[in-house]
C-alpha cells in the first residue's frame, strides 16, 4: 500500500466506522482540555516565576520608622543583610509634566526611584551605573499620559521606546509650599530637569504602566526636596521603602526587621502565596485526572476495538499478512489517527487561544501577564494523546497478532 492509499484508507475508516469517529471526537476534546489546562498552568507558573521575581515591588518592603530614633532607624535597616537600599517613601515616585506634551497627549510621566541595584531588565541600551545622573530608563511602548494608569492607550500616540534612546526630554515640576495659616499647599517656584534616555525596558513584564520611567535615586531625591514633597505634613504617615536583593529573602529580612523592633513591616506588592499554592495544586490535580481519564478512555477503546476486530486479524493472516504486517497496518493507522487528532486539536486550540488573547487577554497583558503557548503543553499533550494510546495499541495488537488464526476467527463466531 502506498502512502496515498494508506492516508485515504485511514481517513475513510474514521468516517465509516462510528466507533472510530466517537474515539476521535472524545480524544479531541481531551486534547483540547489538556492544551488549555497545561497552557494555563504553564503561563501561571511563568507569571509567578518571572514577573514576580522581576517586579521590584514584590521585593520592596514598607517599614514604619522608629519614632524614638533620630534617624528613625534608617541606619539599622541599611546594615541588614540582603538589603539593597532604604529610602523615605516620598522618594519612591514623582509625577511630573514633560516635554512630550502635545495636543494629543498630556505628557504626564511618573518617575520611579532607581539605581544600579534597583532597575528593570533592559531590552535596549544600557542600565544605570553608579556615577550616572540625569539619565532615564523608559518603557519600550511609551505613553506619557495619565490614561496609562487605566491601561487606556491610544495606540496612535504611543512612542516606540527604542526611538527615544540617547535622546533627551525635559520634565517640569513646581515647588509645593505648605501654608500653615490656611493648611493648604500652594505653588511656589517652577523647576525643570533634562534627562537622557539611556535604556528601554518592557514595562508589562514588571507590571509597570506605560508612563513610568526610572531615574537615579539622587536625581529623584533632589527633585522631591526641591518640590518640598518631603515635608510630609501632620496627616501623612511616614514609612521607609526597603528593597531586598531577592524575592526569596523577603521572609528572612522581614523577620530580622521585626526582631530589631520595627512595628510594622509589609511587602509593598503583596502576592497571595496561598492562592498560588491553591492554583498549583488544583491544576496538578486536574492534569493528573485528565491524564488518567485519557489513558482509560483510549486504552479501553483500543482494547475493545482490537478484541472486536480480532477476527479481522485472523482474516488478514489467512490472506498472507504475517505478524509484522498486521502490526504495521494497525499501528500505522492508529498513529495517523492519533497524530491527526493531536494536530487538529492544536490548530483549534491555537485559533481559540489567539482569539481570546486579542479580544480578552489583551488587557491582562498590561498588568504583566504575557499569555503565550510554550513548548511544555505541546509536548505533554503529545505524550498524553499520541504516545500513551499508541503504546496501548501496540501492546494489544502484538498480543492478538501472536494468536493462531483459528482462535482469532472463532472470536467472530462468539459475537
Amino acid at each position: 500500500m502506498n502512502l496515498r492509499e494508506f492516508f485515504k484508507n485511514t481517513f475513510i475508516g474514521i468516517f465509516r466506522d462510528k466507533r472510530k469517529l466517537f474515539y476521535v471526537v472524545v480524544l479531541l476534546i481531551c486534547s483540547l482540555i489538556a492544551f488549555s489546562i497545561l497552557t494555563f498552568k504553564n503561563n501561571f507558573d511563568m507569571y509567578v516565576n518571572e514577573t514576580i521575581t522581576r517586579n521590584i515591588g514584590f521585593r520592596t518592603l514598607s517599614v514604619s520608622p522608629k519614632q524614638d530614633k533620630e534617624d528613625l532607624g534608617l541606619s539599622e535597616l541599611n546594615l541588614l543583610e540582603h538589603v539593597i537600599d532604604v529610602y523615605s517613601f516620598q522618594y519612591s515616585s514623582m509625577s511630573v509634566e514633560s516635554s512630550f506634551k502635545n495636543e494629543n497627549i498630556e505628557g504626564t510621566i511618573e518617575l520611579l526611584y532607581g539605581s544600579p541595584d534597583i532597575q528593570p531588565n533592559i531590552i535596549m541600551g544600557r542600565g544605570f551605573q553608579s556615577d550616572d545622573s540625569n539619565v532615564a530608563i523608559c518603557p519600550n511602548i511609551f505613553y506619557p499620559d495619565s490614561s496609562a494608569y487605566e491601561l487606556q492607550l491610544d495606540n496612535k500616540y504611543t512612542i516606540n521606546g527604542n526611538s527615544l534612546l540617547n535622546n533627551e526630554f525635559e520634565v517640569y515640576y513646581t515647588e509645593s509650599i505648605f501654608d500653615t495659616d490656611t493648611n493648604t499647599f500652594e505653588d511656589g517656584k517652577k523647576f525643570s530637569e533634562k534627562f537622557k534616555v539611556i535604556g528601554v525596558y518592557d514595562n508589562t513584564s514588571v507590571m509597570n504602566f506605560n508612563n513610568q520611567c526610572y531615574i537615579m535615586s539622587n536625581d529623584i531625591k533632589k527633585m522631591v526636596s526641591k518640590a518640598g514633597l518631603d515635608n510630609i505634613g501632620e496627616n501623612s504617615y511616614p514609612y521607609f521603602d526597603l528593597v531586598v536583593d531577592n524575592v526569596d529573602n523577603i521572609e528572612e529580612v522581614m523577620g530580622k526587621i521585626k526582631d530589631l523592633g520595627f512595628r510594622k513591616v509589609s511587602v509593598k506588592n503583596y502576592f497571595d502565596s496561598d492562592m498560588k499554592k491553591t492554583i498549583e495544586v488544583s491544576s496538578i490535580i486536574v492534569v493528573t485526572i485528565l491524564v488518567f481519564l485519557t489513558i482509560i478512555i483510549s486504552s479501553s477503546y483500543i482494547k475493545k476495538l482490537v478484541i472486536n476486530d480480532s477476527w479481522k486479524i485472523g482474516i488478514l493472516k489467512t490472506l498472507g499478512y504475517n505478524q509484522m504486517k498486521v502490526l504495521k497496518k494497525y499501528f500505522g493507522e492508529a498513529s495517523l489517527i492519533n497524530i491527526i487528532i493531536y494536530f487538529f486539536s492544536f490548530l483549534i486550540f491555537e485559533i481559540i487561544f489567539l482569539f481570546l488573547k486579542f479580544i480578552i487577554f489583551s488587557s491582562i497583558q498590561y498588568i504583566g501577564i504575557n499569555i503565550r503557548v510554550s513548548l511544555f503543553p505541546v509536548i505533554v499533550t503529545f505524550i498524553i494523546i499520541v504516545i500513551i494510546p499508541l503504546l496501548t495499541m501496540f501492546y494489544n495488537i502484538y498480543k492478538y497478532s501472536k494468536q493462531n488464526i483459528i482462535d482469532l476467527l472463532r472470536k467472530s463466531d462468539q459475537k
Binding site: 465509516r16 485472523g314 488478514l316 493472516k317 489467512t318 490472506l319 498472507g320 499478512y321 493462531n404 467472530s412
Partner: protein
C-alpha cells in the same frame, strides 16, 4: 498420479487435540495428493475433522504430524513468516461466514490481499480487483458495502478476494452454509469454473448439490479419508 501434476501432497498426516483430560484423535495417518484443474469435495458427518483437514491444507493450522508438500516442497516445518508468504502466494480461503470487512466496499475488500503482494503493480491493483469482481458477476456492485449485498453476493466477493493474488489452491469450508439454493448453485458454479481455469479447488460441504460439481469426492470417516465413487 503423475508427479508433475501433483500440487499438494499430504503424507501420514495425523492430528490430535489435547485437552486437560483427553488426547482426541481427529485425523489418522492421512496420505493424499491433490492436483490442479480438479474440484475436490470432502464430505462427512459434523465434527469429524473436515474443517481441521482444510485448516491444515490452508496452513492456518500448523500443529500436526506428518509432511505437507506444495509443488514438492515441504511446508509443514516453515516458520510463521514463511507460512504467511506461502498462504499469500498459493492459497485462497473461502469461509462459511464470508468474513468481509463491513466498513470496506466490495472492491476495497478485494484489494486487501493485494497490498502485501509486491508482484502486483500498484497502478494495476484497482483494475485487477474490478476484473475479479466482474469474473464473479459483480461488476455493477463494486462500490457496495457488504451490508448492501445479498448472502450470495457477499460470498462471491469473498471468492474474488480469495483470488486476488492468483493462488493455485482454493479452499472452501462450507461456502454455501449460509446461502439459499439459488445462491448455492451460483457459488458452486463459480468454484467449478475456477477448477476448469486451472486451480486446485478443495471444498468441504454437507451440500448434496456440491457432489454434482465435484470431480473427486472424499469422505472423512473414522479419522481417515476414503474416496467415494460418484
Amino acid at each position: 498420479m503423475e508427479k508433475e501434476k501433483v500440487l499438494i501432497r499430504l503424507e501420514h498426516i495425523t492430528k490430535n487435540y489435547v485437552n486437560k483430560h483427553h488426547n482426541i484423535l481427529v485425523l489418522d495417518n492421512i496420505s493424499i495428493d491433490f492436483s490442479k484443474q480438479k474440484f475436490y469435495l470432502i464430505i462427512g458427518h459434523s465434527g469429524n475433522g473436515k474443517s481441521t483437514l482444510i485448516n491444515i491444507l490452508g496452513l492456518i493450522d500448523s500443529k500436526f504430524e506428518g509432511n505437507y508438500l506444495i509443488y514438492g516442497n515441504e511446508v509443514s516445518t516453515l516458520n510463521n513468516k514463511d507460512l504467511a508468504k506461502i498462504r499469500m502466494q498459493h492459497v485462497g480461503f473461502i469461509f462459511q461466514d464470508f468474513y468481509l470487512d463491513p466498513y470496506l466496499k466490495a472492491i476495497e475488500n478485494v484489494l486487501v490481499p493485494m497490498y502485501i503482494n509486491e508482484n502486483i503493480l500498484k497502478e494495476s491493483r484497482k483494475s485487477k480487483a474490478i476484473e475479479l469482481l466482474d469474473k464473479v458477476g459483480l461488476k455493477e456492485r463494486i462500490n457496495h458495502f457488504p451490508r448492501e449485498l445479498s448472502g450470495g453476493e457477499q460470498q462471491r466477493v469473498a471468492i474474488a478476494r480469495a483470488l486476488a493474488n492468483d493462488p493455485d489452491i482454493i479452499l472452501a469450508d462450507e461456502p454455501t452454509g449460509n446461502l439459499d439454493s439459488t445462491n448455492e448453485k451460483m457459488v458452486f458454479e463459480q468454484l467449478k469454473k475456477l477448477s476448469k481455469d486451472g486451480k486446485c479447488v478443495i471444498v468441504v460441504s454437507h451440500s448434496d448439490l456440491a457432489k454434482k460439481y465435484a470431480d473427486v469426492v472424499y469422505e472423512l470417516d473414522d479419522h481417515k479419508l476414503y474416496e467415494v465413487k460418484k
